[in-house]
Amino acid sequence: MSTPIVVEQLTKRFGKFEAVKDVSFTAPGGAITALLGPSGSGKSTVLRMIAGLETPNDGHIRMGDVELTAKSVQERRVGFVFQHFALFRHMTVADNVAFGLAVRKQPKDVKNQRVEELLELVQLAPFAKRYPDQLSGGQRQRVALARALAPRPDVLLLDEPFGALDAKVRQDLRHWLDGLHRELGVTSLLVTHDQEEALELANQIVVMHEGRVEQVGSPAEIYDDPATPFVAGFVGSANVLHGEVRDGHVHLGSVRVAGAAHLADGAPATAFVRPHDVRVRQKGGQANERDGDFTATIERIASLGWLARLTLRLADGHTLVAHVPQEELDGAKEGDTVTLDLRNPKAFLREVHGADPDEVDADAEIDVPPSDRATAGTA
């Protein structure tokens, strides 16, 4: 069950369109690896190539020591869970789950026992004789999971498994899958566009964009240490500041952001600062000209439960968004002048021709960084 998946230089073209470009990574055995990226990033195609549902134009796929690339779907022993469940609609739940065993001509008692075992595992034992159209979306996906796991695959592949479900059901199933994985320990590869899902579930994340791998790392690494502007902008929300490099800082009007030591002077650069890294202090106290200290006016305070979202306007007109715990607000009001301190900025060379990541807008979802998960309560 602890078979790692190794993908090397995988390439796939549909006609003239290059969906997957030279993708390589290793999914460690026994862990959940997430393929995270927006629509069209090629992540589903990579998954389907690993399953054998698409043929790569170039590259290799290995499961443990076994070279998979020439093997047919049937021979690969992968469990695959589809976004829209793909349950066999004219078979009962029990027959669906038993299918992989029936195909391998397992004796009836072995089949029945395994089906029972799995239905218990996914907590759907009373539904054995029902048909898929009598089940809710969440139940169907659990059946799909049981069905995929029944033949004891070496690897579990999930293609946006919760994409077709309601938000609450999605949350519930996410926790449930987490627990299931801890219990079973099957190497799993999860494709998703939901970064919250990836950050919560995965042991390792492969961020993909336009067919390429942007970064491979743990959730903390991806979040705190984005390797490319895309990752910085895609994972978690961020303030995006475009400026010029001088003296190891990104300069943007009155704003001076550290973290550009690795970039050449004069180069155009983009700095990313997470809203919760924008530290706000009441004005009055030493207005130090320390790194990163500068003043701003609170334009708007939005109260979001335990968090307050502050929209801050700088002297030269730029806007920053800060997330501050309510208790630290200290009576600050709209219109107040405050001092800002930008922590943990990440700076990248700006690609002049590439699409700039959008500035964070006032309606961006509040992201819950991994370290804060414990205090988030019911999200």
Binding site: L53, V73, F82, H84, F88, V103, A144, R147, A148
Partner: protein
């Protein structure tokens, strides 16, 4: 006159009236008349021949039609579009011309006909010719019934079956077939009903020997030509009853499918 009224008059006058005429004539002397009319020598044999050839043709057409539909939808191959167009040809070609073509090909003076004759195999003027004619004429029916359903099928169920280890045949048999079964059945019933009444292609190639190669429709024609309308109507009513039930069932099947 309302639209509805126009429709009712249209169908009532053009369809219901003629059908009523035939049934009334066939049952003119009551059930007794029907039975005695069926005692016309050759009637039972003709109906039996029609039933047998129609059943066989329907079964063959069902299998080949499904295969054709599957190949046209799921496979890529050179000539696919041409094949698809050719399949529709019988929808356009007059049935009589089909009969003429078969005579030209298998008739006693033709290339293949003469060749087969030397081998001792006779095609024309045998039930085989009837089957051939029926198969040609009904070629598109099952194909066009199954094709749209196959096209609409979400392949993820089949992909799931493949990931679970099912080979191509198992996947087809256990996943695809149940989904297209209603379409196959509908197309087959349509084929059968069509075969029951087929005249134009059969009349030239069958030979029309009573008790041997005389089908019911040709028999009815002969009776009508001999100014024996009551007997003709009797046989026609029996034939009609058979296909009427069939077409009704098919129609209801199809409409239920559309509603679901």
């Amino acid at each position: 006159m309302t639209l509805r009224g126009a429709a009712i008059v249209y169908l009532g006058a053009m369809v219901a009236l003629p059908v009523a005429a035939v049934i009334t004539k066939g049952f003119g002397d009551g059930l007794e008349g029907l039975r005695s009319a069926l005692n016309v020598p050759g009637a039972v044999a003709a109906i039996r021949l029609t039933l047998i050839t129609s059943t066989l043709a329907a079964i063959i057409s069902a299998v080949m039609g499904t295969m054709l539909a599957y190949a046209l939808v799921r496979y890529q191959f050179p000539g696919r579009r041409t094949l698809s167009a050719v399949v529709d040809l019988p929808l356009a070609i007059p049935t009589l011309v089909t009969g003429v073509m078969l005579v030209a090909l298998y008739g006693p003076n033709s290339m293949i006909g003469g060749f087969l004759d030397d081998l001792g195999i006779q095609v024309i003027f045998t039930p085989i010719a009837i089957m051939l004619a029926l198969l040609v004429v009904t070629l598109p029916l099952v194909v066009r019934s199954v094709q749209p359903v196959l096209q609409e099928l979400d392949t993820s169920e089949e992909e799931a079956a493949a990931t679970l280890g099912a080979n191509a045949w198992t996947t087809f048999y256990r996943i695809v077939l149940p989904a297209i079964r209603p379409a196959i059945v509908g197309g087959t019933l349509l084929t059968f009903a069509r075969c029951l009444g087929e005249f134009g292609s059969v009349v030239l190639v069958a030979g029309n020997v009573p008790n041997k190669t005389l089908t019911a429709p040709v028999f009815i024609f002969q009776l009508a030509n001999q100014f024996r309308p009551i007997e003709a109507a009797a046989v026609a009513t029996v034939l009609f009853a058979l296909s009427f039930v069939l077409v009704l069932v098919t129609g209801r099947l199809l409409r239920r499918k559309e509603e679901s």
